[in-house]
């Protein structure tokens, strides 16, 4: 199978991007430098192509009830033009995907799934939708993200990009809240703008029809240039999300992991009810109810490296002996990078509960050598407002 290309593929190639396969798509890994792109997002702004993400429309009178049933969160409580981070679990409580649900109308939602999981989520949605008056439709569109402290100014300066207070009920870029969305305009086209992201910075995500994506991409790049905006690839996206302590499906989350182990128990709403006030038997509820409050066999922690060598996904986490050598294995690294912002290695890892307390001195087996790491709280990085 050949990798799919986003509508912006030729733009990436023309910019000299180093392309890579990700979730079945050809995506830009970096344009020039991972570090420079990462720093641009922290200091000014970066522009990302996220068109590989899976957009799924959910429409119909029972859309809210269906999403309450299919996902672990209380989606029916999400207000109009708001968004919610949630997960779809299997019957055994394992995570099939983490996703964001945007409510764009009274009975209209769209769900953004991870690229590699889009088909799984679509299949599960169709299966779980059988008893509901709802339509589940793939809604492929282009998705651009402008992330960084100057994102708002840059979008305001983007030629042809306009707020649409009439359609959005007075919502502008300035007053658009975190985890909210609004209809806006790009030239003669209606676009949806969300104040969401995966970088730990302020920023926006913009859904635009595929045939207008290049135009919008170029307009944002041109407007952003004086601010120092650069196009940013998946490599920067990964180090940014990791600093911000955000999980990545396939690393921190998978079908053998429950939301509780991942430290994401807050997204599971065992208390949600049907319209009649009955407990709502959403998919995975029984398994998750039995796990809640129980000590999980492993927990997700943040690790800060005391040396210079980064830990990588799959490396063993071990006890640190008195001489600084590797002791018994106590866990596995799920993601790790040298943090560009903090200047030391950071990693996320699943470890056994008895070594999960903040300050616990551990080591990571970095290709045969015990590198010292210490347990720290997540996130590693939090922006100053």
């Amino acid at each position: 199978m050949t990798d799919k290309k986003t509508p912006l593929h030729d733009e990436h190639v023309a910019l000299g991007a180093h392309m890579t396969e990700f979730g079945g798509w050809q995506m830009p890994l970096r344009y020039t430098s991972d570090l420079a792109e990462h720093r641009a997002v922290r200091e000014t702004a970066g522009l990302f192509d996220l068109s590989h993400m899976g957009d799924i429309g959910v429409h119909g009178p029972e859309a809210a009830a269906f999403l309450d049933h299919a996902l672990v969160g209380a989606i029916s409580q999400v207000k109009l033009l708001r968004a919610r981070y949630s997960m779809i679990c299997a019957d055994d409580g394992g995570v099939l995907d983490d996703l964001i649900v945007y409510r764009t109308g009274e009975t209209e939602y769209f769900v953004v799934a991870n690229a590699a999981n889009t088909e799984v989520v679509l299949d599960e949605f169709r299966r779980r939708a059988a008893a509901f008056d709802v339509e589940v439709v793939p809604a492929p569109s282009a998705l651009l993200a402008v992330q960084g402290p100057r994102a708002e100014e840059i979008l305001r300066a983007t030629d042809g990009f306009e707020e649409d207070p009439e359609a959005s009920g007075g919502v502008t870029l300035e007053n658009l809240r975190y985890y909210a969305c609004a209809p806006m305009r790009f030239r003669d086209e209606a676009v949806v703008v969300g104040r969401t992201g995966y970088t730990g910075e302020d920023g926006f995500e913009i859904w635009v029809s595929p045939d207008r994506a290049v135009e919008l991409w170029r307009a944002v790049l041109a407007a952003g240039e004086p601010f120092g905006l650069v196009p940013a690839g998946l490599s920067a996206r990964d180090s940014l999300r990791l600093e911000a302590g955000m999980p990545l499906y396939g690393h921190e989350l998978d079908t053998t992991t429950t939301p509780f182990e991942a430290g994401m128990g807050r997204v599971v709403r065992l208390d949600k009810e049907t319209a009649d006030g009955e407990p709502l038997a959403f998919v995975g509820r029984d398994a998750l109810a039995s796990r809640k409050g129980a000590q999980p066999a492993r927990v997700l922690v943040g690790l800060r490296g005391e040396g210079r060598r980064p830990a990588r996904a799959g490396y063993d986490v071990v006890r640190r002996t008195a001489d600084g050598d590797a002791g018994a294995k106590v866990g596995s690294v799920t993601s790790g990078v040298p943090s560009p912002t903090l200047g030391y290695p950071v990693a996320m890892a699943y470890v056994t509960p008895e070594v999960s307390a903040e300050g616990t001195e551990l080591a990571v087996d970095v290709r045969g050598r015990a590198e010292p790491f210490v347990v720290v709280p997540l996130p590693f990085y939090r922006r100053t407002k």
Binding site: L29, D34, S235, P310, V337, P338
Partner: protein, 123 residues
């Protein structure tokens, strides 16, 4: 597009070595570009005896780790402390300030000319 000096020899593992005595070793711009931003280098120690074709160090970038192979056999006479302190030099000046170590050569392995290397790497 980087220039590949004809005065240097290259390996299939993307190292370069010059013909001086002692010989200087580094990695090619192609390898540096593929690695991305280099954040850590581990080099053989001065005085170490190395054998061509074997792993003598590591180069670690933000995204990946790759092994450093000895292009020649001999005794290491010097390592580039500047590149240990500032690993980004590997990417910014692979043929100059980003050199890695020097070696008193006792034997060479299979080395490529600049043209052969460019054909091998597709650059």
């Amino acid at each position: 597009m980087a220039e590949y000096p004809a005065t240097l020899k290259y390996t299939k593992e993307h190292e370069w070595v010059d013909g001086e005595s002692p010989a200087t070793v580094g990695i090619t711009p192609y390898a540096a570009e593929a690695l991305g931003d280099v954040v850590f280098v581990e080099l053989p120690e001065v005085g170490a005896t190395i054998e061509h074709g074997t792993v003598v160090g590591e180069i670690e970038s933000t995204k990946s780790v790759s092994e450093l192979y000895a292009p020649v056999s001999g005794t290491v006479t010097e390592v580039n402390q500047a590149v240990v302190d500032d690993p980004e030099l590997v990417g910014s000046a692979p043929f100059e300030g980003g050199w890695l170590f020097k070696v008193e050569v006792s034997a060479t392995g299979e080395l490529l000319t600049a043209d052969e290397y460019r054909a091998h790497a597709g650059v």
